[in-house]
């Protein structure tokens, strides 16, 4: 596809995630989606940019804030929406919900709700690939808050020590729930922290999808070339509350406004307009396609069946339940 087509694809991918989650927020208020719902709004450039560097053979590991990663990875929106509802047709048969999207065909390993727990698993996936001689990358997403957990430390050390093919994607949105990074980290330059494990590490503007795209490609190439793990700190911001319950007492409306000016979708569409690679008709076309897909996804989720209570204990173990 041409450079221009590629750019438009990036833009559409971001808009698709944005509109999907805006709809999810409404569905939450309608009580169609329950439990926790963590919106990725403002951070879309990271998921979209990083996925450009991955092949279908690569693996993806994420957090509870993973709708963007799932959609950018190419998981059918119908099944993602059905999972948000908890329907049997969802990515996880409805058992996981918003925080636990899984998809074997695209090697999407979830969807973890314990901060930092996914890091060792990602390193293990990479170890398996390495031991079996597969030249693939495991992309592991986590937040700035996870960096304080012991598992971050243990995993960074082991990944570097064993030169495992992991791309550590730190989504630094400056807050862990209500705790600003300055109150959580003695060293707030997270790339510097990562470098202390002797792995290539650098910060990237997470609001610039092109910068994310090229940084991820550079890292992935080097990882495939056997250079071991790489760490990228994507500097970004969460526009919405941490979850649907968060009263946001810990940050000012003003700070949020400042960051909204750096909205990755806004920045990139303006840029494309400047390069006259985008005009209103093109944008409308994108919005129309996205809206239609979301409508279809909601309809699919609504029409889908619930898992019958009789099958509650299915999948506790592969063989007969204990």
């Amino acid at each position: 596809m041409s450079a221009n087509e590629h750019d438009l694809a990036l833009l559409e991918a971001m808009i698709r995630i944005r509109r999907f989650e805006e709809r999810c927020a409404d569905l939450y208020k309608e009580e169609k989606i329950r439990g926790f719902l963590h919106l990725y709004i403002g951070e879309e450039a990271i998921a979209v940019g990083v996925m450009q560097a991955l092949t279908p053979a690569d693996a993806v590991v994420s957090t509870y804030r993973e709708h963007g990663h799932a959609l950018a990875r190419g998981i059918d929106m119908n099944r993602v929406m059905a999972e948000m509802y908890g329907k049997a047709t969802g990515t996880s048969g409805g058992r996981g919900g918003s925080m636990h999207l899984f998809d074997a065909p695209s090697r999407f390993y979830g969807g973890t709700a314990i901060v930092g727990e996914q890091l060792p698993m990602a390193a293990g996936l990479a170890l398996a690939d390495k031991m079996q001689g597969r030249p693939v990358v495991t992309a592991c997403f986590f937040g700035d808050g996870a960096v304080a957990e012991g598992e971050f430390h243990e995993t960074m050390n082991l990944a570097a020590l064993w030169r495992l093919p992991v791309l550590f994607c730190c989504e630094n949105n400056r807050y862990a729930m209500g705790t600003a990074i300055e109150r959580a980290q003695s060293e707030t330059d997270l790339a510097l922290k990562a470098a202390a494990y002797r792995m290539p590490a650098w910060p990237v503007d997470g609001m610039d999808v092109k910068a994310v795209d090229s940084a991820a490609r550079r890292a992935a190439e080097s990882i495939r070339a056997g250079e071991g793990p790489h760490f990228i700190e994507f500097r970004t911001y969460r526009f919405r509350a941490h979850s649907m319950f968060d009263p946001e007492l810990y940050r000012s409306k003003d700070e949020v406004e400042q960051w909204r000016r750096r909205d990755p979708i806004l920045l990139f569409s303006e840029r494309l307009r400047r390069e006259s690679a985008l005009d209103d008709t093109a944008l409308e076309a994108i919005e129309k396609r996205v809206a239609a897909e979301i409508e279809a996804a909601v309809a699919f989720a609504e029409a889908s069946e619930w898992e019958p209570v009789e099958s509650l204990t299915r999948h506790v173990t592969t063989l007969a339940a204990p």
Partner: protein
């Protein structure tokens, strides 16, 4: 994952001059506030207890009143801040460590089990650890497999710690000060579905004993033994049973370690039947321990085998219908009792 269902400050609509209406959340907050006002050694430490106002809004307002030195937001480092609670307690402070939920306490399990619980004995009685750890526990809010554990039974297995499960407004208000007076580590499990319940509290209400179970409802035919989030379920079942002519006594364990055998056995000696209700998975649940103790202490008094109503042995699923089906329900308790009571022939 977090839920500030409401960040309101305590409403003190005085029902009668002596009584105050408040939520469980407010009762816990009042307990913390009162302790911090009384004793400068007491401080609160945990994830988002300060600026955020507490994941469940329990500590809302405390940062403003006591400042960041005594209401300490920590990074995501469960093992470290629980261990620091041990050290601070050894150093003469009276820390209240909030582990956001029991699900995350697994990351601090070593500090609790190998650290806090062993220190006094290993040191030949030299070093006691006056540490209080609070955590939210339980399922019922569609938070799925990693956020719905009821592992208080695990901790009740460990010698050297006391384990509490406040199920009422009185206990939410009164267990904390008693825990702070305990020279040894105390774990307090607050069921997340209880924070919004409302109740009346005597205006001057304070510390309550933390060594006895409580009879929450008198009955003749069967003893329903529960704790924490399951107490309401047990009481609801007792009320339904009443209608069908079965008089059920309801025991609130309150203290999960050490268990109060006397209250449990006295009730069973009276009713000759018992059902233990536990939101945890059946195998290896605290309900098993209660059943075993009744076996050992009142076997010849039993008219029927002690029954357990526990959670299905499955990671808690997200959809409401599956989650509710996995948890102990009033119907299940009622059916179980009816099967065992002569009334329901």
């Amino acid at each position: 994952m977090t839920a500030v269902e409401s960040a309101v400050t305590p409403r003190v609509e005085t029902a009668t001059p002596q009584v105050v209406a408040m939520t469980y959340r407010e009762a816990v907050r009042e307990a913390i506030r009162a302790a911090m006002r009384q004793d400068s050694r007491v401080f609160l430490m945990g994830e988002d207890v300060g600026r955020y106002g507490g994941t469940y809004a329990v500590s809302h307002g405390l940062l403003d009143e006591f400042g960041p030195e005594r209401v300490r937001d920590t990074p995501l480092s469960e093992s470290a801040f629980v261990g620091m609670g041990i050290g601070a307690a050894l150093g003469g402070m009276r820390p209240i460590v909030e582990v956001m939920t029991v699900n995350f306490s697994l990351l601090a399990a070593d500090q609790i089990v190998n650290g806090a619980a062993t220190m006094l004995h290993m040191s030949g009685g030299q070093f006691n650890v006056p540490l209080v750890i609070r955590m939210a526990t339980g399922a019922g809010r569609q938070l799925a497999a990693q956020h719905s554990h009821s592992l208080e039974g695990w901790y009740a297995h460990i010698p050297g710690i006391r384990v509490l499960a406040p199920a009422t407004i009185e206990d939410a208000r009164g267990m904390l000060p008693s825990a702070l007076d305990d020279p040894d580590p105390v774990l307090i499990f607050e069921h997340a579905t209880l924070y919004n319940i409302e109740g009346q509290l005597a205006a001057g209400a304070g510390a309550v004993p933390i060594d006895r179970a409580a009879v929450r409802r008198e009955g003749r035919d069967v003893s329903l033994i529960a704790y924490g989030g399951m107490l309401r379920t047990a009481i609801a079942a007792a009320e339904q049973l009443e209608a069908s002519g079965v008089s059920a006594e309801v025991i609130d364990l309150r203290v999960l370690r050490p268990l109060d055998d006397d209250t449990i056995l006295a009730s069973v000696r009276k009713t000759h039947r018992a059902v233990v209700i536990d939101e945890a998975w059946r195998s290896g649940s605290l309900a098993a321990e209660v059943s075993a103790r009744i076996m050992e202490g009142a076997f010849y008094e039993l008219d029927a085998p002690v029954a357990r109503v526990c959670a299905a042995e499955v990671p808690i699923p997200y959809p409401r219908h599956l989650e509710q089906y996995a948890l102990p329900r009033v119907e299940t308790i009622v059916e179980t009792v009816q099967r065992m009571t002569t009334h329901a022939g």
